[in-house]
């Protein structure tokens, strides 16, 4: 019995017991459903063992939506607790757990997989490749992310959630002040999914550098691919810092090391520095691909080439360099001294310059364009003013002297949500709507989509703009309640109302997917938006080999130029296509990683060691394996192409599309 006590929840509440029951029921439901409909084989063959970048992208997408729900549930609970003064919905401990998991889930398990989803879905198509450089590694990346996310998410029903904030500053996150296993979950779950992210970074850097279609020079790459490339370079250089910091944090908590302790020479500020040396570039890992999506969408729906292509690229490169030079601005008040603070103030403000260049480029792209206000375009147009407000308050925060007033208040919370929601979340929802037909073969309903946009935009403004005011008035972040005499009550109620509108928007997204699945027409052709880049030059849904013949590129708007200016994309005969084999190893290996992570969380050394050996056995098997993939024969490719009912000849294709 004593053995099992470690798995008990330290701060149980009815909500947690209800979640336990719900998780058990859903798990049983999934198992029974899969068995009843005889789908186990299908699940294994088509999804668990797949190495196809499109399927992996779809799995990232579904996971991200799932985690958006989890993080959103946390958010609405926090807003409900703060809606009225001295509310009793959550106690202080429960509130700590919820703001911690909200932050981690939204950044690492929602936003990251969302951008990885788009990178997986779009990048190989945009550069005219058959897959990524290392398809099996790609599958491993996904499954490591997935088991990391699952490990993090079981914390609140087994052993207790992390409760030291998403930044987990020491000494608070140390054993003395965080006695439950929650912070162990934080360290290990993020470590496992972080390894996956690092491998994705390596994979996509290699893919983009080496696998572009003939004729596509770096300066002819579509803008989303450029943004994905730069984001992945940042991943490669930022994530190892997190890896080391997490190893040290784990060592402190599990093995009694003294990195971040307050005795025996430990230095708690070292954690804060390492965390933000990773954490600030991480922000740009999220926002740059979002910028890339906006560039694609704005250019498509303005009917114009992207304005200032070169300045777009160079501003992203500049942002990526500066992103490594600003981390101290996250703790101006924590004792660096005036000179250090001044330097980091200046580097932080400098980031506003290349970002401003991008804003003006988007505006000039729309200038005199024939703008079509589709759902993705609405998000993009909404993004520009809202994100600019977030950027301007960022410059306010960058002034280190003034930061002593803003630090740890709701003003900061308002600022970073004001950049992340219009910046990243709008982009993800715009991208979801824009690319949905490419991968699922039907469009999402525009009417519901536009309603969703208005709910989310108005909800966002109502939820977060009041925080600027209460923050300046001194409402601290991470406080579970406040007294009535502070006068924060009414504005917090407005925030709660805004949060509720955003929750409705989320339900509308789900409803839209269901509604469109039932009602949308399926004969949409391969280019429903009249778009400009290469991913629209192949069929819908995309065949597993992506392109029957590799395209020949001569401009950054390759597909547009083939439609309007007579460039010929596809030349030559169809040849045999080499494809990678599916493999169950990434999935199995990730499951073993899950066992290892779980055992480390509870310091169960025997299963931990066995699981680590299991990981090395998987790597050994991989080393000895001889896997040369397989070929799809030219004849089979031609049959598939014919089935799509589209003309193989490019000249005919350009005539066909010019009818539109």
């Amino acid at each position: 019995m004593e053995f099992f006590q470690r798995f008990a929840i330290p701060h149980p509440s009815p909500a947690i017991y209800a979640s336990m029951v719900a998780i058990a029921l859903v798990s049983i439901g999934i198992v029974v459903g899969l068995t009843y409909f005889k789908k186990w084989g299908y699940l294994w063959r088509e999804w668990l063992t797949t190495v196809d970048h499109k399927k992996i992208g779809i799995m990232y997408l579904l996971s991200a939506l799932l985690m958006l729900f989890r993080g959103g549930a946390d958010a609405i609970m926090m807003r409900a607790q703060l809606a009225t003064p001295e509310a009793k919905l959550l106690d202080a401990q429960h509130y700590n757990e919820i703001f911690t998991t909200h932050g981690v889930v939204m950044i690492l398990f929602m936003a990251m997989p969302f951008i990885f989803a788009f990178m997986n879905l779009i990048v190989p198509l945009q550069i005219g490749a058959r897959d990524v450089a290392f398809p099996r590694l790609n599958a491993l990346s996904f499954w490591l992310f997935f088991v990391g996310a699952m490990l993090f998410n079981i914390s609140f029903v087994i052993g207790g959630s992390p409760d030291a904030g998403w930044t987990s500053y020491f000494p608070l996150a140390g054993n003395d002040f965080s006695t439950s296993v929650g912070t162990n979950y934080y360290m290990l779950a993020i470590q496992i999914s972080g390894i996956g992210s690092l491998m994705t970074g390596i994979n996509f850097c290699t893919t983009i550098l080496k696998m572009r279609a003939p004729g596509m020079t770096l300066m002819k790459m579509p803008m989303f691919t450029w943004s994905a490339f730069i984001a992945n370079v940042i991943v490669v250089f930022a994530f190892p810092v997190l890896t080391v910091a997490l190893i040290m944090g784990t060592a402190d908590r599990l093995f009694g090391a003294n990195f971040f302790t307050t005795s025996n020479g430990g230095m708690d500020m070292l954690w804060a520095n390492f965390f933000w040396v990773w954490g600030h570039p991480e922000v740009y890992i999220l926002i740059l691909p979002a910028f890339g999506l906006y560039s694609e969408i704005i250019s498509t729906f303005s009917g114009r080439n992207l304005y200032g292509y070169k300045s777009m690229v160079w501003s992203m490169i500049l942002i990526s360099l500066l992103s490594f030079l600003v981390w101290t601005h996250h703790f101006f008040t924590m004792g660096q001294g005036a000179l250090t603070n001044s330097i980091f103030s200046i580097t932080t403000m400098a980031i506003a310059v290349p970002t401003g260049v991008k804003i003006f480029n988007w505006l000039f792209t729309m200038w005199k364009g024939k703008i079509r206000f589709t759902t993705p375009m609405l998000y993009s147009v909404g993004f520009i003013p809202l994100f600019t407000i977030g950027g301007v308050t960022g410059v306010m925060l960058a002034m280190s002297a003034a930061d002593y007033q803003y630090h740890n208040t709701m003003f900061l919370v308002a600022h970073f949500h004001n950049t992340i929601i219009p910046g990243v979340v709008f982009a993800m929802l715009a991208g979801l709507t824009y690319y949905w037909p490419k991968f699922f073969g039907f469009m999402l309903n525009e009417k519901i989509g536009k309603t969703t946009f208005w709910f989310i935009a108005v909800g966002f403004v109502l939820a977060f703009f009041p925080m600027y005011i209460t923050g300046l008035d001194g409402q601290a972040r991470r406080m579970y309640t406040y007294s009535e005499s502070t006068g924060f009550g009414p504005l917090n109620m407005v925030s709660f109302f805004g949060g509720a509108l955003m929750a409705i928007a989320f339900l509308l997204i789900v409803y839209n997917i269901w509604y469109s699945f039932k009602n949308s027409p399926r004969d949409i052709g391969s280019d429903p938006w009249d778009a400009r880049s290469l991913e629209w030059a192949t069929h819908t849904p995309v065949p597993e080999y992506n392109f029957a013949r590799l395209p020949q590129i001569s401009s950054s708007q390759a597909f547009w130029d083939s439609k309007k200016n007579g460039h010929v994309l596809f030349k030559g005969e169809i040849e045999d296509i080499h494809m990678p084999n599916n493999s169950g190893v990434p999935f199995v290996m990730s499951c073993i990683f899950f066992v290892a992570g779980f055992s480390f969380v509870f310091a169960l050394w025997v299963p931990a060691v066995i699981a680590l050996i299991g990981v090395f056995v998987c790597m050994t098997l991989r080393s000895f394996e001889q896997d040369h993939g397989y070929h799809i024969h030219a004849k089979e490719v031609k049959e598939t192409e014919a089935k799509y009912g589209e003309v193989l000849n490019n000249e005919d294709r350009s005539r066909a599309t010019s009818r539109v």
């Binding site: 450089a133 290699t206 810092v241 080391v244 093995f255 003294n258 025996n264 020479g265 070292l270 000895f624």
Partner: protein, 198 residues
Amino acid sequence: MKIDHAQPLEYSTDQNQLNILGFWIFLGAEIMLFATLFTAYFTLSHRTGSGPTPAEIFEITPVLIETFVLLTSSFTIGLGVHAMRLGRKNAMVTFFGITLLLGLCFLGVEIFEFMTYYHEGATYQTSAFTSALMTTLGTHGAHVTLGFFWGLFIIIQVVKRGLTPQTANKAFIFSLYWHFLDVVWIFIFSFIYLKGMM
């Protein structure tokens, strides 16, 4: 799979070239990993609490042996890759074998060194300095250990399958890894041991 005979065997297919570039990028990430460890070490090396200082526990003899052994192994793996380029399979296997044996010697001395620290009262828990020292050395040592098994598997594959584009590619990438560990060791030797003994 197209094989380009104008290129050395390890570069001769598209996938091989991807593997090599991907591994270089991975080494970029490894540089960041060790750079972070060094940063932590430099920050914490004077924070010894009630434990020993670097000068009190570092000894030059085992460290010199480790350095000599590891630098030699980097030379022998270079010879191994050269032999591979000449298509001399047996010479290559021999040089790779010597490399791994030298790697084992290195690990033996390092374990001895850690035991000495332990007996002198410098354990992983003693102070921020010892935690940082042993994590940095341990991460390097874990890389060498992993490299030993990896190299062993590659030798077995070369012996069984001969020098094919695949095995040559694996052997070449392994040599990059091994050289990288050597470079890291040079930094450890100069900036942890020599600086600590001054």
